[in-house]
Amino acid sequence: MGKIDMTAVSVIAANLQAILGLNTQILPVQPEPEYAFLARRGQYDGGKILHALAAVSDSSQFMLAVVSVDIFTPILTFVFGESQLGGKAAVVSLFRAKSKNLEQSYNRAAKIAIHEIGHLLGIVHCRTPDCLMGFSNNLEKLDSLPLRFCQACEFEARRRLRHLFGEPGVKAP
């Protein structure tokens, strides 16, 4: 959505395919989500973006929006991403993931996306150290996490993917 680094979007799509085995499809760039902008906070409401995304009629199981603006929830000052637990829509913000090191930026974006897709699969935050489903409250924590789930979350993700698709195969924007 909006003015976006398409390389980041491609990296996210490739990682979702490689790590979770999801079939991904990149949809045309949509306009900036101005409907979600809150002037008082100078940020975009992640919840409103999710609502709009979930309402889009598309046959895909999951819809993942990638935005370059800073997003928030009514209770948190900012979030790296937001998603509906066990639902259809998720959003990833590249705003705080930005780094002078491009590889690091893309790595962060991929981690946020996989974490949010984990929520769409119904997986909650994990307390196992070095699991991507752990809650990242800052960039330091996000950078310290590997690009994979722990054994238990991995098993759960595979189980839910099998339940949803039989065998891997799905589209995502």
């Binding site: 929830t73 009514p74 209770i75 948190l76 900012f78 929520h119 909650v124 935050h125 409250n137």
Partner: protein, 454 residues
Amino acid sequence: MKSSTHIMVVDDEETICEALMAWFVKDGYKVETALSGEGALEYLQGNDIDIFLVDIKMPGMNGIELLSRIKEKQPAAAVIMMTAHGSIQTAVEAMKLGASDYLCKPFDPDALSLLMERVMMQKTLQKENTILKERLLEQQEEAADVFIVHSEQMRKIFSTVDEVAPSSAPILITGETGVGKDIVARAIHLRSQRSYGPFVAVNCGALSESLLESELFGHEKGAFTGAMKTRRGRLEMADSGTLFLDEIGEISTKMQIVLLRVLEEKQFLRLGGSSPVSSDFRLITATHRDIPPLIKEKQFREDFYYRINVIKIHIPPLRERQDDIPALADHFLKRYVEDTGKHLEGFTQKAIEHLISYSWPGNVRELRNVIERAVVIARGYIIGTDELKFLDPGKLSCETPSGTLEQIEMNHIKSTLASCDGNISHTAKKLGINRSTLSRKMKQYQLTTLSMAK
């Protein structure tokens, strides 16, 4: 732990409730929401919540009011207050009322996760603490079982113990040596509100005056030759617990004056120290001596006696509560059988009678030692009089029998028959009468040899 933790979010703004609920659900908690304080209280009827997140500013019942209502209904619950308008004064008020923490909306993700970690840690410790307390209580009950009471006198003592234990009033326990004054003192401590505090016992009779002083009050480094480092005294160690001073009748009048002042002021100085030390303890004292005559002889101060003798518990000697002897003997037998691994099933009737008729000058302690010795020397499966031969026969009590002449005669024949294992010839010989006279008397008193043979 997390999935079983039940959280309730109370905020009049639906978006806040929804957003918090979504976050907590993703974090693995079970979450409820309420849009008002009244709604939250309604849910609390019959439901338990571990952690509350409560908005301070709400129409109707505000967050502060809800906080105090929650603390009334569920004191163990953690309550985190939230506000969009940070005000130190309200925060202080909330913390005074028992809130766990205070957050300004919107929260920094770092602050929220750190806070939740801290609250969860507190809840875990709280739960662990409850479990440990329950376990301790079970152990305490087991320890109290050691005090076997069958006699009416001891039952009365234990009902007194139950009555006086919760208060902090000083208790004086009197009784002969070996009756278990220390066990009663410990039982009082275990049943008191100080049971989680320490139980510190000092035997005043075993220490010289200067040693006792240093033992009780502690000393500062260099207070006297050999005082290499500062040492806490027993009075200090007993803080928030019970101090048990055994053989209080042995302490000097000078020490009585010092202790009296400590009891009045609850403060004292370490030897060589200049700053007062406070200690909050319950005092239990014990003595085998009769104090009032000592007061007359000016060996014991009257004011100190009245200070320690607020509640008096007298434990009668074992010979005055013979009903307890078989039960105690059984109890000690089981204990020593376990310790030694011997297969002993009990006592013969004669052995029990022998134990009952003994005067027990050393009381329960002596009985325990006798049983221990009997278990060690026993060769069969049962302890008989042979194993108790070492009991000093001179200390067998010679009670004057009471009752009519006929009753006395019947009882004497009965006990002699029992001691001869129901053998008529032996019994007759022992009683100094012939067999036919014995048979006639047994018929008269309806005694049979079968019931006598043990």
